[in-house]
């Protein structure tokens, strides 16, 4: 690990004042891993663990605010989250291990970096680690890589589960800046596609601090998180799907579908959702939805399997979500 100076922030203003030329550390489960490999080498760490951001609280308009320092464990086990946002509990419980979930925080998890093997390997060029140096994943081992929204510069994926569920739930992220102002960013606008700047994972500017995540008031419908991975536990998603689907009698009233493991960000496709709404569930309809989702999908060799896999995951989850026989 490269040397760095360490400072413990006493409050938010103190953290943000120091944050401009520093990296925040909360759980540290991803950051310290990357610092040991020197993939990340901040000059200064600002420890935000003692800030007052570890509460889950209801808001006046029926939403639920998850403080940025709420651990993954506490979020998944919270009675309100379990009751009203089960897809979020399920997604968090599908990720990492008990030990990691006890340390990983809501804000930090949003900033989790890719698990692309080449990003982690300092001996090999990587456009995300060192812009302009090249990408070895495109012609290399790319089993875990993107099939949607990739660019000529980068085919890495966002690896997390929590943010995928939050995307299906239309969460908003609270971000406090150097001016002391808080902005609310829809989670779909938080993570970026790689484009020409794969080094930027998300929209956070220097010194900006995530303070919380707002989950909109609970919605009706069935919530499902399906994760497909190489091991039964403690592995990143090859494909995951967070679904919130509401039926109106025989037809689909609404469908929020967010995918993990397919792109540089949790992936939502409004055209797919629009295609489903107002229709009666059928194998034909689900097949069309999958074809729409994957119309522009591109494999790079080892990850070609993700295209048929994703199709099957979507069809399977839609069947479960619209099956009137199953419990809500």
């Amino acid at each position: 690990m490269k040397p760095f100076t360490y400072a413990r922030a006493t409050d938010r203003a103190d953290a943000i004042a120091q944050g401009g030329n520093a990296t925040y550390i909360a759980g540290g489960t991803n950051l310290l891993d990357l610092m040991k490999l020197e993939v990340m080498a901040p000059d200064k760490l600002v420890d935000i663990n003692r800030l007052d951001l570890a509460e889950i609280s209801g808001t006046d308009d029926g939403a639920l605010r998850i403080g940025a320092l709420v651990t993954n464990s506490d979020c998944a086990a919270d009675t309100r989250v379990r009751q009203d946002y089960p897809v979020l509990s399920r997604a968090i419980l599908a990720g990492a291990s008990g030990q990691l979930r006890n340390k990983a925080t809501t804000g930090g998890n949003l900033c989790q970096r890719t698990r692309c093997y080449y990003f982690y390997d300092m001996a090999i060029p990587c456009n995300k680690r060192e812009p302009g140096s090249g990408c070895q994943a495109m012609q290399g081992f790319n089993r875990i890589h993107a099939i949607l929204g990739a660019s000529d510069a980068c085919i890495a994926t966002y690896p997390g589960d929590m943010a995928v569920a939050m995307t299906a739930l239309d969460a908003q992220i609270q971000i406090e800046g150097a001016d002391g102002e808080t902005r609310l960013v829809p989670i779909q606008e938080f993570h970026l596609l790689p484009g020409d700047h794969p080094e930027k994972d998300n929209i956070l500017a220097a010194g900006e601090l995530i303070t919380g995540v707002i989950l909109p008031p609970p919605v009706e419908g069935k919530q499902i998180y399906r994760k497909v991975r190489d091991r039964a536990s403690y592995a990143f998603a090859l494909c995951s799907l967070a679904a919130v689907v509401e039926m109106d009698g025989e037809t689909i009233a609404s469908a929020a579908l967010a995918f993990g493991g397919l792109a540089h960000k949790p992936w939502r496709d409004p055209d797919v959702e629009a295609l489903l709404v107002g229709e009666k569930p059928s194998a034909d309809l689900f097949g069309k939805a999958a074809d729409q989702l994957l119309a522009d999908a591109q494999g790079y060799g080892s990850n070609d399997f993700k295209i048929p896999l994703t199709k099957r995951v979507l069809i399977s989850v839609l069947k479960e979500a619209t099956d009137k026989g199953a419990a809500a």
């Binding site: 760095f4 360490y6 759980g27 540290g28 030990q99 039964a232």
Partner: protein
Amino acid sequence: METTELSVNGKTHKLEADSRVTLLDALRNHLGLTGTKKGCDHGQCGACTVIVEGRRINSCLTLACMHDGDEITTIEGLGEPGNLSALQSAFVAHDGFQCGYCTPGQICSATAMLEEAKAGWPSFVSDDLEGPDALSDEEISERMSGNLCRCAAYPNIVDAIRKVAGAKS
């Protein structure tokens, strides 16, 4: 250098160490508590699991200086020869190890895991999010998936944990 006060197994230690020192290295190299093991050093194997403020964590993925004032329990704090904890005894009785390297992490992890289950936390394999009434073998395996055993003593590890989980409920 950072000055950090750590309360480990009920005893307070004042640590003077570089900011880069992980909690794992502080325990082993600075405090001489070598029961906690370094496996992968990247949070993938669980050998370094300790209990901090009541929660099991990977001590390799956290800095010692981040834990000023924290209460830490290591394998040495759970029991000692002649006075083993229930899980330590159960691992011996059920032969829950071969080489033993992952065992301190397994036992620290299981100790805190049983508390999580008692608090009603659900897991990925729980049928509903109310949390399970009793820990099935599937529940134990899922909840312990952050602790690898390269000797593959898993069936006996599950036996040992089931024995203690059953005795508690």
